[in-house]
């Protein structure tokens, strides 16, 4: 059975259907007019933190236990006995500028213009999980057994029948409601009333959820999960995808610079690295069979562009490699095509990660790191194939990479943003051994006495470790969660 799409007429009258004797009909909610949409209203003064909404949502959507489309967070502060504790219950904010939708490479998201609901189609989704990095609230969540993400759809099928969403129906305190918002007015205020302690700024994505805060709420209340810093998912296929595409592109750029002195074997190695990378990328997808769809949204999504450029690069690099091997006259144009598409791919890769919801990635350092990975590995690949003149350049690139990494940790430690400080804390505390190895391997590679054929595998290991740290040490923006959220299971 598939979802019935919204087929409402504009004059549909919205009032809850009650079945029992005790009629508790809500005030009728009309359908959105022109320039309006539905939104959630959450009243923090009414919420008692019972988590009925969370349970009702999971039941409504048959979600597995790891996934919560609605989550209840806690905020705490003050000094006994004047301690303060409040709760925050949120589903999807059905933003005016939904970051999930903007980044999606396959157009699985749509914003229903009749009601503003941000819908996600499991049929279209390929499970790339890019939306889970883009949303600053952690709303879209990847469903392992389905291979696709899913998110709160405001129970639009219930709304279309004049019924409340499951969370609204279940709330014993009437702390959650559906209401109408005038889009232009909301935008003009910068979504101001969507802000609360423990939430990322609402104006970033123009969250539409309106939050009623307790009068005089202490803005410095802390998230109950503030101190729980947990390494993020390592995304191993992406670690290999990034490192190997960068190695391949770095190799082709180096070979272009060498001109006629370029060793033929290096063409083959670089091409092989690029092709292997594409293979790894399939392992990342929840639905690898639908990988080709990923190029669809190249006009809008950096992820589509990355896939497009690297697919072209794969073709151009293979063609250039055969031209080099067989001594064809087409080598130069093919080589140039590979370098251009490859560099564009590396830039697209970096821009995928430079998203506001992941502050540790959202910096030009990400692009610099990727380029330097390409430089270190590309130069060493060529050097290992006999072109010794590139060895010293590789050392220089390794030193630069080490300086970049150390600089990143130091600057994050001093940052204002909580997520950046927590990223630094992760690298300096639970991941300190990894951090030390990362720097040590780079310095080893930098030593010119180490021959290229030894330095290359060492550098490859080092860059893989570096990219692993890149993924696990990012602390995403999120709503305040509860004390046990994100902890390991019992």
């Amino acid at each position: 059975m598939s979802l019935p799409l919204l087929g409402r007429t504009a004059d549909a009258s919205f009032c809850r259907v009650t079945t029992g004797g005790a009629a508790v009909a809500e005030p009728a909610l009309r359908a959105p007019g022109a320039g309006e949409q539905y939104r959630f209203h959450f009243d923090m003064t009414k919420c008692i933190g019972c988590k009925c909404c969370e349970v009702a949502c999971s039941e409504q959507n048959n979600n597995p236990v790891e996934i919560q489309w609605r989550r209840v967070g806690e905020l705490e502060g003050g000094i006994y006995p004047l301690a303060e504790r409040f709760h925050l219950s949120m589903g999807c904010n059905h933003c005016l500028e939904p970051a999930c939708l903007i980044g999606c490479p396959v157009d699985a998201y749509s914003k229903d213009l009749s009601n503003g609901i941000v819908l996600h189609s499991a049929e279209i989704c390929i499970g790339c999980q890019y939306c889970t990095w883009n949303c600053p609230y952690g709303v879209p969540q990847f469903n392992e057994e389905r291979g696709v993400v899913g998110k709160c759809d405001m129970c639009h099928n219930r709304l279309s029948e004049g019924r409340s969403p499951a969370c609204v129906s279940a709330c014993p305190q009437e702390a959650i409601e559906i209401e109408l918002v005038n889009i232009a007015e909301w935008r003009a205020t910068g979504a101001f009333a969507g802000n609360a302690p423990g939430l990322p700024p609402a104006e970033h994505t123009m969250s539409t959820t309106r939050i009623t805060l307790p009068e005089g709420i202490n803005q410095t209340l802390k998230k109950a999960d503030y101190h729980r810093v947990r390494p993020e998912h390592p995304h191993w296929p992406l670690v290999f995808l990034l490192v190997l595409t960068q190695m391949a592109v770095g190799g082709f750029v180096t070979l272009l610079a060498l001109g006629s002195a370029a060793p033929k074997l290096a063409f083959l190695l670089a091409t092989a690295a690029g092709h292997a990378a594409l293979g790894f990328s399939l392992l990342h997808l929840g639905r690898p069979a639908h990988a080709p769809r990923a190029m669809k949204m190249w006009r809008r999504s950096w992820l589509s562009r990355e896939v497009l450029f690297f697919t072209l690069f794969a073709g151009a690099s293979a063609a250039a490699a055969s031209a080099a091997w067989f001594g064809s006259g087409l080598l130069l144009p093919l080589h140039l095509a590979a370098v251009v598409t490859g560099l564009a791919g590396v830039v697209a890769s970096a821009y995928i990660y430079m998203v506001p919801a992941r502050p540790a990635w959202n910096t030009m350092r990400t692009l610099a790191e990727f380029v330097l990975t390409g430089a270190v590995l590309g130069l060493l690949t060529v050097a290992a194939c006999g072109a010794n003149e590139t060895r010293l350049w590789a050392s220089a690139a390794a030193v630069a990479q080490a300086a970049l990494f150390a600089g990143k940790v130091v600057s994050m430690r001093r940052a204002y943003e909580f997520e950046l400080r927590q990223s630094a804390r992760l690298l300096e505390r639970p991941l300190r051994r990894h951090t030390a190895w990362r720097l040590g391997l780079l310095l080893l590679v930098a030593a010119p006495v180490i021959p290229a054929w030894i330095a290359l595998p060492v550098a490859l290991g080092g860059e893989i470790l570096g990219r692993y740290l890149f993924f696990v040490s990012v602390v995403p923006r999120n709503m305040a969660l509860s004390f046990f959220s994100g902890s390991e299971a019992a």
Binding site: T18, G20, K51, N62, Y80, G147, N157, H227, A490
Partner: protein, 726 residues
């Protein structure tokens, strides 16, 4: 997670599992949760007594919904109720009778199991006397089962050493009501929470423990809400005034309020004169509870005490609700008396909003109080009263000598008698003392002295069933029929939605078969075939008593909804009713008693070695010892293990940080590996540990101190120290 190759390629996204369908009654929901039929019943967790519907498909419970027509919850449920259907399919359900042979529990037939139980208990009773058999039951059964079990134990097995786990929970309220009003029975109703102009909650964290009652508080827009609790609970955050008293200083506060009421002439002297006894003694006693002294004991300011007293005195309809902060104490019953004193002094009880109201624990603790024949004779009758015994003997057609003239051992005294080897056989029904009884080591010693232990439960393994010589698998909520009575005396129908798993049987059926095995079925349960027969007899037995069920029938409950007792005939409307509206109490002289209550310090003061007061309590996601909620994955995810709350100043002093694992040590034992939550919601010098978790068992720390009147354990305070776990 096992995936098919189609899932791995992404060609199968389990579209059916994640599709939606339209339920005729409740609208669009997950297609897998749209049932063939909805069965009306009452929630089996706490005593709020919410009406619910269980959705059944292919013989499985697939969903629950709050019953919108039910006057208690009006369609809402707490997270435990919303996921209650998952408990029915838990892997940890008990499915077959198991008998211990050579140290291992092995499956046996029901015939074999009951023959063994009756045989072994008979041997023990012949050897050590009839009273050497103990029975510990629960607040989880339906009233019909409590009524049947009482007859089976007292008249069949012939032992009066029978009590329920309600003694770990409600006994102080029961004793307190009996002392103040002459009978058990909460006088008020939930509507009072909405209608009172002053709501005082003492030791009651309803936002976590009875969340559905918060609806009534939300309806109360004009009234003042005062929460008395040493911890800044979620409920304290709902209050207009939070009184952060020192642990166990509530009696001083209540006496202080009464003192000001008398001093400032806010006593209803006409009411006191007409409807109470003991005023002169009380007045003399209260003279020393000046605001200054009370401030010193409670840690509050004098002005706070006077303010609250004046609010109470000036209130049109003050409601005082309490739960375990009051009951779990060596002075629990007396604290209840101190509360009742306030209502009596001001004459403010028995009308809308005005009530001293114990918010009960388990779904049918009330049914147990009224019908169980454990701490009292059925129908709030007294063991000591010859007329009461004669009445019952006549109705039951048994010689009056078979009815005991005094109560047997209360729960903690049953355990003590086991330690002393006076009780050698024990039957535990639907309770899990290894998690819920204080001072674990003593309990284990007591259990070790038994010759035969039978545990009848819906779940296995539990820490307690693992100790059993015989496990009897029982049906649970959702699998059996009967009635529950909630905190406001409202009787609500309970129905079976699905069949019990394996060979599990409804407790009622187990009791009938046991009586059959003893050859007593016709004597005790003449002509009974099901719970309806028990209910019919219980209606006759309760007729004319305060808890009069005589006008309540299954048909009435099914067609017109739940009904409050007393209900003698259909002419009784279904509107909310209260006890003692006419000022007539259950003592022979028709008057209530005022009790002079002395504040005493907590039984185990802190010292240098044990510098913290340990407070225990609950969390919204879990129910008691987690046999049910521990089997519900989403509740477990929200609250996977115990935590210890500690004030930041104390944590700093001990060099401890958030999420550190700590060991809590008392004079009796230690609990290790508890995750530390550094928080300002607890006072310096106090720590809080939830009591749900056997893995972090708070009862390895608590002590064997019991209320001399109610026999309720003092779970709430003991002295501990906290160290970093190694």
């Amino acid at each position: 997670m096992k995936k098919s190759w189609k899932q791995m390629l992404g060609l199968d996204i389990l579209a059916d599992k994640y599709s939606y369908a339209n339920d005729a009654e409740y609208g669009y929901t997950s297609a897998e949760k749209v049932p063939e039929r909805w069965v009306s019943t009452t929630c089996g967790y706490c005593s709020v007594g919410c009406g619910m519907k269980v959705g059944v498909r292919d013989g499985r419970a697939v969903a629950v919904r709050g019953d919108e027509s039910h006057p208690v919850n009006m369609g809402k449920l707490c997270p435990k109720g919303l996921s209650e259907h998952h408990t029915l399919q838990a892997k940890s359900r008990a499915r077959y009778p198991l008998l211990k042979r050579g140290g291992r529990l092995e499956r046996v037939t029901w015939d074999n199991a009951l023959e063994t139980m009756v045989g072994r208990f008979g041997e023990i009773q012949r050897k050590y006397g009839a009273q050497s058999l103990g029975v510990l039951s629960t607040g989880q059964l339906v009233t019909e089962e409590f009524y049947a079990l009482g007859k089976l134990v007292q008249l069949g097995f012939g032992t009066s050493n029978y009590d329920g786990n309600t003694t770990l929970c409600m006994a102080s309220a029961v004793s307190g009501y009996k002392r103040s009003f002459g009978s058990d029975g909460p006088p008020g109703a939930y509507d009072d929470l909405a209608q009172a102009d002053l709501v005082v909650l003492i030791g009651a964290n309803i936002a976590d423990n009875h969340p559905i009652l918060c609806q009534r508080l939300a309806e109360n827009t004009g009234g003042t809400v005062i929460v008395v609790d040493p911890r800044v609970t979620k409920t304290a955050m709902l209050a207009d005034i939070h009184l952060p008293v020192k642990p166990r200083s509530d009696i001083a506060l209540l006496n202080g309020i009464a003192h000001v009421l008398i001093e400032e002439g806010m006593v209803d002297t006409a009411y006191v004169e007409a409807h109470t006894t003991g005023f002169a003694e009380l007045k003399a006693h209260l003279a020393k509870y000046t605001p200054a002294r009370v401030a010193e004991i409670t840690g509050l300011s004098e002005s706070q005490i006077v303010l609250v007293a004046r609010k109470f005195g000036q209130a049109r309809a003050p409601f005082v609700g309490w739960t375990m902060g009051v009951n779990h104490s060596t002075q629990g019953a007396e604290t209840v008396n101190a509360i009742c004193n306030l209502s009596l002094l001001t004459g403010k009880l028995g009308h809308a909003g005005a009530s001293p109201f114990s918010i009960t624990g388990q779904c049918n603790a009330m049914g147990s109080r009224e019908a169980s024949f454990s701490s009292a004779l059925p129908g709030y009758r007294k063991f000591e009263d010859g007329d009461h015994r004669a009445e019952l003997a006549a109705m039951w057609n048994v010689p009056v000598e078979e009815i005991p003239s005094k109560r047997g051992h209360a729960y903690p005294d049953v355990i003590e008698a086991m330690v002393k080897k006076q009780i050698r056989g024990l039957w535990i029904i639907a309770t899990n003392p290894l998690v819920s009884f204080p001072n674990y080591d003593v309990l284990m010693q007591a259990l070790g002295n038994l010759e035969f232990l039978v545990v009848q439960d819906g779940f296995h393994p539990t820490p307690t069933t693992e100790q059993a010589d015989l496990v009897l698998p029982a049906a649970i909520w959702g699998e059996k029929e009967g009635t529950y009575t909630n905190s406001e005396r409202r009787v609500s129908k309970v129905n079976a939605a699905v069949a019990p798993p394996g060979e599990a049987l409804p407790d009622f059926e187990i009791f009938m078969r046991t009586a059959g095995q003893m050859g007593l079925r016709e004597k005790l349960f003449p002509g009974w075939t099901g719970p309806a027969d028990a209910f019919a007899e219980w209606r006759r037995v309760s007729k004319g008593r305060l808890c009069d069920y005589s006008g309540i029938t299954y048909a009435l409950l099914e067609t017109r909804g739940p009904v409050q007792w007393p209900h003698t005939s259909d002419e009784h409307g279904l509107e909310t009713r209260r006890l003692y509206s006419d000022g007539q109490f259950e003592y022979a002289d028709g008057k209530a008693k005022l009790f002079p209550i002395e504040w005493k310090p907590e039984p185990e003061p802190v010292n240098g070695r044990y510098p913290f007061i340990l407070n225990t309590g609950r969390t919204v996601e879990h129910w008691h010892t987690r046999t049910k909620t521990g089997a519900v994955a989403m509740l477990e995810r929200m609250s996977p293990r115990a935590w210890l709350e500690m004030n930041p100043s104390d944590a700093e002093g001990l060099g401890l940080e958030m999420h550190d694992r700590v060991t809590i040590v008392s004079r009796r034992g230690a609990v290790s590996g508890v995750e530390l939550r550094v928080t300002s919601i607890v006072a310096p010098g106090q720590v809080f540990l939830p009591f749900h978790f056997f893995e972090y068992n708070s009862n390895r720390l608590t002590m064997s101190a019991f209320d001399p009147i109610s026999r309720e354990p003092n779970f709430k305070q003991c002295a501990v120290r906290v160290e970093r776990s190694v």
